[in-house]
Amino acid sequence: MSSAGLNFSPAEWTAIFLSLRVATVGALASLPLAIAVAWLLARRRFPGKSLFNALVHLPLVMPPVVTGWLLLIGFGRQGVFGHAFEACCGLTFSFRWTGAALAAAVMGFPLMVRTIRLSLETVDARLEQAAQTLGAPSWFVFLTITLPLAAPGIIAGLILGFAKAIGEFGATITFVANIPGQTQTIATAIYSATQDPNGGDTTWRLTGVAIAIAVLALFASEALAARVVKREAEP
């Protein structure tokens, strides 16, 4: 690293904060749906389940640029969903940070669902039966037995979704481009810096931030999961 050292430029700070915002909103907003989908896959049998499962996992295996392009088609201003969101709640996705959050949510979704599904599958169904015989309706059993027991996996899934969102590149740049201050995240800012002959310092600084966030997220996930497990063992 040269003389610029750790002096982050305003544009770099903007990219860092935008990334955190995009990843936090993307992961939190998709969590309820991820839990619902994971529960369907873990606990319910229905026709077309394997097709549904494949659809959920598609963003994991499809080229991110394809996902980004499909988002552009569906959630751009002219897209069916994009138009509907704009009409109903004034929410615009294309070329806005909200679009980056949507791209991050879609890309992180399969990882969240997978992790949450695994933890739901480890919850002993016999405990849920016991709660049923005590008179509890299904939603109450889910909220008071299933969710708390699956909490470590849900937290892990949330943080995994967050970390994936921080690193998201292909779908984001395709859907919302790479506009400094608007849609430029850490990943797309690093890409821009690598294209710039004078971007070496920026690349290094943002790379360091990206690694730090990833490491912190993993530690936080481990620590939270351990705490929940401990609380379960000795409340």
Binding site: D124, A131, T133, L134, T144, L149
Partner: protein
């Protein structure tokens, strides 16, 4: 009157039973794998039988002929499972009161303090469930079922892990429930002494089939 007519297939295992017992307490006996626990699960509404009629006096839980099948949570059955099935993330006290909020209808069978004293679980109330002994867990499970104010009690070898002195107390409590509250009880037991003491009717099972049904009061 306990009325249980069940026809149920699970893989290549089938259960067929037709029981009409006039007494209050029915014991299910037979070797392991005879289908006793499966039958209790069906009565509790945790398994859906192919064809059945299950009724306690005028309360009908299942009547396939009429397309009636009351969901498990509405049957108000106190089910004491073979393993305690305590909720591991809740304290003993919260386990005990879990069902109470859904049991508002009708007069309570027994009060919280009474159950806690009788089962000797007062010192455990604020504790988690993971460090309880097998017997302590089972006592909490019995308390939890009783405090849900059940109108039928199902017990699957509930006293196996419990020491002799405590066993006598719990048997006395079950007798009280039977005599004072007239609550129907169906239990699985391998102990002849328990069966003799509690049961008014005894159903013997072998490989899913009812092979004998006798009135214990008549034979003794």
């Amino acid at each position: 009157m306990i009325e249980i007519a069940v026809e149920h297939a699970q893989g290549d295992f089938t259960i067929e039973a037709g029981i009409r017992a006039s007494g209050r307490v029915l014991a299910l006996c037979g070797p392991s794998g005879a289908g006793k626990t499966t039958l209790l699960d069906i009565i509790a509404g945790l398994r859906r039988p192919r064809h059945a009629r299950i009724a306690f006096d005028d309360v009908v839980f299942v009547d396939s002929e009429r397309g009636l099948d009351v969901p498990a949570r509405l049957r108000r059955i106190g089910y004491i499972f073979q393993e305690p099935r305590l909720f591991p993330h809740l304290s003993v006290a919260h386990n005990l009161t879990y069902g109470a909020r859904f049991a508002s209808r009708g007069p309570s069978l027994v009060g919280f303090a009474e159950v806690v004293a009788l089962l000797g679980i007062e010192p455990l109330l604020s504790r988690g469930t993971s460090r309880l002994s097998g017997g302590e867990k089972q006592r909490v499970a019995i308390g939890r079922a009783l405090l849900s104010n059940p109108r039928v009690l199902l017990m699957d070898e509930p006293l196996t892990a419990i020491d002799d002195a405590r066993r006598q107390d719990i048997l006395a409590l079950i007798e009280t429930l039977r005599d004072a509250f007239a609550i129907p009880i169906i239990f699985v037991s391998h102990r002849a002494s328990e069966v003799e003491r509690l049961a008014s009717d005894i159903a013997e099972f072998e490989r899913g089939r009812l092979v004998a049904l006798r009135d214990s009061r008549a034979s003794s």
